[in-house]
Each structure stands twice: as structure tokens, then as C-alpha cells.
Amino acid sequence: MKWFVYLYPKSWRQRYGDEIIDLLEQQDWTFFMTIDLLRGIIDAWKIELNEREVFGIRMSNLLWLVGLINILIILQYRSLQEVILMEQVALIIAMVSFFLAVSIFIVNLFKAGFRNALSIKTKLSKMAVGFMGLYGLTFIVFLVLAN
């Protein structure tokens, strides 16, 4: 259960990490606890992203914008009637991967700084590169299936 704590934002973990680990150690694992922790992680990220700003724009608003652009791209492809189910699945995976890669890159940019974000030294950069790779692969699959 402890590793769930590593999914919380770093600043949150530094402040409450030890306390929550201590609390989790005193309880038996239940399914409810896992769901509750996952909700807590989402909530903590929501608070974190609402507090951070990029050029005066809230990070949460930026992520909404990126998400919206992805939905518009998916909807545009959906309108093509000839696109079959597999193509759609590949495209959705590609777009979700792209969204995650960009989101993780933006988060990493502000967590690790510009120089570190462009390298693959941090866990988040590695994750962003991984998702970008998945995006590339699934997009190629989509193009092959579409043709």
C-alpha cells in the first residue's frame, strides 16, 4: 500500500507522506482503502494543479485546453465513416498517450526545471518519453490500418 503515496505530488508527499504511511501501517488493507487512496491522489493533484500557474494561467486550465484539443482531434477522425473499430481504438490510445506525454512533460517542466525536463534524468521525463513512444507506435498502427 505504501507505494500509493509515491503517486501523490512531491510537495504533498513531503508534507504529509510520513503521516499517511504511518496511518496506513496501522490498518489492514481493504478494497475501500485502495479506492479512497486513489481518490485522495486525484484530489491532491487537483489542488496542486489549481495552485500552480504558467505565465499567469492555471495549470489545471492548461490541461483542460490540451484535453479539449485532443477530444476535437478524436471527434474529427470519428466523423470519417470509413474508420473501423480497430483504427478508432488505435487512434484513441495514440491520443490518450499524446495527452499524457504532454501533460507529464508540462508537470515535469515545473517540477524539475527546464533543463532537467528536456533530459531523461527524472522519472517523469522517462514516463513522458515512454508515452510519446506509445503515441508514435499506435499512430503508425492507425495509419497502416486506415490505408
Partner: protein, 101 residues
């Protein structure tokens, strides 16, 4: 009209727990379970604690232990008093309309 600060039910339970004495997370969780028969998860508990601390309604007390006790601040006490009065007014009105009083 100025929007009022609204906190969820767990936040109110935490404030009520701390109104009596300073407590750490696990003690707050036990107090809530004992008094309201509600088992709060760690995620919910610390989500509420984060918000209350950011609002300045509770503060952490220095401790060498991993368990950090929390204390209700003056602002927290005032907020809780207002919330209790508001809930009391609502329950009185409800009871009157139901003919219970």
C-alpha cells in the same frame, strides 16, 4: 453576494474532533468512527486536512514523531461555531415543520 467557504462533511467532523483536544490523523479517524460510525479512508482524511490547513482552520504542531498532532486555530473555532449555528438553525426549522417541536 460573497461566496461562503464550504467544506465537506469530513472536514466538519475533523474540526469537531479537534475542538476538544489536539489529535493526530489516526486519533481523528478513530474519533470520527466512534462518534458517527463513519470510517474515513486515509485519502479522504488527508484531503480534508490539506484543505483545512490551507484555509488556516487547523495547524500542525511540531513533533519528532511521524504522527503530527493538529490543533484548531482561532479562525477554525470561529468557522466551526458559525457552521454549527447554521446547522442548528436548519434542524430547528426542519423539526418545526415536521411538528417534532
Amino acid at each position: 453576494m460573497k461566496k461562503k467557504d464550504r467544506f465537506s462533511e469530513p472536514s466538519l467532523f475533523i474540526l469537531i474532533s479537534l475542538a476538544e483536544k489536539d489529535c493526530h490523523g489516526y486519533a481523528i479517524m478513530e474519533d470520527i468512527e466512534k462518534n458517527y460510525s463513519i470510517k474515513l479512508g486515509a485519502g479522504t482524511l488527508y484531503g480534508a486536512i490539506t484543505r483545512l490547513e490551507k484555509a488556516g482552520y487547523i495547524q500542525v504542531l511540531e513533533s519528532d514523531d511521524r504522527k503530527k498532532p493538529y490543533r484548531l486555530t482561532d479562525a477554525g473555532r470561529e468557522y466551526l461555531s458559525n457552521q454549527i449555528k447554521e446547522i442548528q438553525a436548519i434542524t430547528t426549522l426542519g423539526a418545526k415543520r415536521l411538528g417534532l417541536i
